[in-house]
Symmetry: C2
Subunit: 347 residues, 2 copies
């Protein structure tokens, strides 16, 4: 094992002062080209790496950003986080930052963690996922002028802070449009109870798409907490109505999976013998169903679903955060990404 290589080692090796080495690293333009080259060679030859800890002591910056890892919920929609985290880590690395993980049971615990991370580790910024109306976390961070970006719009005020989001309304509108184009008119929707920003947004996309096509959405939607069982129950209810929908759009893959079962139970598939792909055993249901999130489950089951560009979203989160950290102190413009419809066997 070689001894620890510090800036002093490099300085000695390159016959310059420590300060010059530091300048080569942080302000290359003030160093004469020839000196710069000599120092750079010494750095490479010695395999020198600046100590983050020492640097942090001076600058107060850790080049660390934190993101919360939530306990996987039903596992179906929870897998969304995986892709997001990978994109985040990768983009952060490219920008010279590292991603740190933390857990928190609720908003209060999360705020306590902010405090800890900030004072003990000097975290540079946070990436928050899943914001909602009147989020106490964003208020806490904003009050202390801590840089942060949210993946999810601040539903109260779009200019409150930098954010990245996926246009959920556009996603459900696209799904609805696809069904409309296939000749359907009475298209139902199964979503979450009113009040959640994300849920309302997805419902609105369906509603507006229907209205734009001249269809009255009244009575065609149901509200359910997330879950397969709930999706099945509500879909059955919807399909048993006086004039039932002929196709279904759902706010999540979980709901869609349940709806799919209800659809099959109500009207047995016409394509039982079809065998056109990996999940062909599920066949095309008589009542088409479209989910949301394009989870692995959707792919495995052949469920048509709205796909969110999670890798991109994560990358843009890092972009926005580093813009705040490295750039001038102005709030960067928010980013609204477009989802895409992944066609499979159920619609």
């Amino acid at each position: 094992m070689s001894e620890k290589v510090t800036i002093a080692t490099v300085a000695r090796h390159a016959q310059v002062s420590r300060q010059t080495v530091s300048n080569v690293l942080n302000s290359p333009h003030v160093v004469r080209e020839e000196t710069r080259r000599r120092v750079q060679e010494a750095i490479d030859a010695l395999g020198y790496r600046a100590s983050q800890a020492a640097r942090q002591m001076r600058t107060g910056r850790s080049r660390l950003i934190a993101v919360r890892i939530e306990p996987t919920r039903d596992g179906i929609n929870g897998s969304v986080l995986d892709r997001f985290l990978h994109g985040l880590t990768e983009t952060a690395e490219a920008a010279g930052y590292r991603a740190m993980l933390y857990t928190a049971a609720d908003a209060a615990a999360e705020i306590a963690t902010f405090d800890d991370l900030l004072s003990a580790y000097d975290l540079d910024g946070f990436v928050l996922t899943g914001t909602d109306h009147g989020d106490p976390r964003t208020a806490w961070l904003a009050e202390r002028a801590v840089p942060f970006v949210t993946f999810g719009r601040p539903w109260d005020d779009p200019d409150a802070h930098p954010w990245v989001d996926v246009d959920g309304a556009a996603g459900t509108a696209q799904a609805t449009g696809h069904l409309l184009a296939a000749g359907h008119r009475r298209i139902g929707f199964i979503g979450w109870p009113a009040g959640s920003g994300v849920g309302d947004d997805r419902r609105a996309g369906w509603r507006e798409a229907l209205r734009a096509a001249g269809v009255d959405p009244a009575g065609l939607d149901r509200e359910a907490v997330d879950g397969i069982a709930e999706g099945e129950r509500l879909a059955a209810d919807l399909l048993a109505a006086a004039s039932p929908p002929t196709a279904l759009v759902c706010a999540s893959d979980s709901l869609a999976l349940g709806a799919l079962q209800a659809a099959r139970a109500a009207a047995p598939s016409t394509a039982t013998a079809a065998h056109t792909g990996p999940a062909a055993h599920t066949g095309a249901p008589a009542v088409p169903v479209i989910g949301f999130d394009d989870t692995p489950v959707a792919a495995a089951v052949g469920l048509t679903s709205v796909s969110q560009p999670l890798g991109d979203a994560a990358a843009r989160c890092v972009d926005l955060l580093t813009a705040v950290l490295d750039g001038p102190p102005r709030t960067p413009a928010p980013v609204l990404l477009q989802p895409s419809l992944v066609l499979r066997h159920t619609a």
Copy 2:
């Protein structure tokens, strides 16, 4: 915003020297009880937190452990990582450590990252997932005496370094035993090509269980790279044999999902009208199928699967790592966790 609270602030507040404050933090036993209490009160009142950076400069320890986040593969088995990461982060926090994420395209890139993380961030240790025969990463780390734990056995030498693993052979043996108990004799296996430690282990569990029951496993297994399509192809091949198996055990949920389709295609379900649960539409196949990993997809589809205790595994990884970091310099004993069979509709 209040000014930064340092050890000096606390010392002033509690009318003691900085050193006494440091002692309260690091060696409470050498401080008089009354003094200790006064200092502790000052710490709480001021909300003081030791600066990791400064501490790290002195001690050379960062209280950071790193874990790699892989790009989600087929999404089905990739979701395994989610639960593992959450458990890891949570246990690390409880032990006073934080988890840092990194990405790497291959082993060489990962080793380069080790070097960077070690010299720039002073990482205390690594948690590696998915080791294999002659893993260059473990060799590199061991050579430099960097503390690390693997989730996955070192297949070459069980004493090479601390590790945590799930007994895959016990899992497939349990699955096989379940089918045996149900009266099956000719139980097939679809696994990965020989050569991977994990794959061979899972296959061995099936083979031994069959042999113990007096059944000759010859000709009853197939090898396939992971994936739904591959699983379907191999299962169809197996079921078309002279004396086909009457039940199937698979090395992954992906393979099992494909096998399920082949099973249904070969012998249409006898329980089409059954409706006993969330995924009842899939019914019980004539040829029972059991998967491995208990992914969200398995749950959604009603696939019986072998479940790995990922949260526990992550926790034990942290335990072992902190034992190395905080304890005496001896290699802690490895941990082999038992998986459990989650019974659903396909077996």
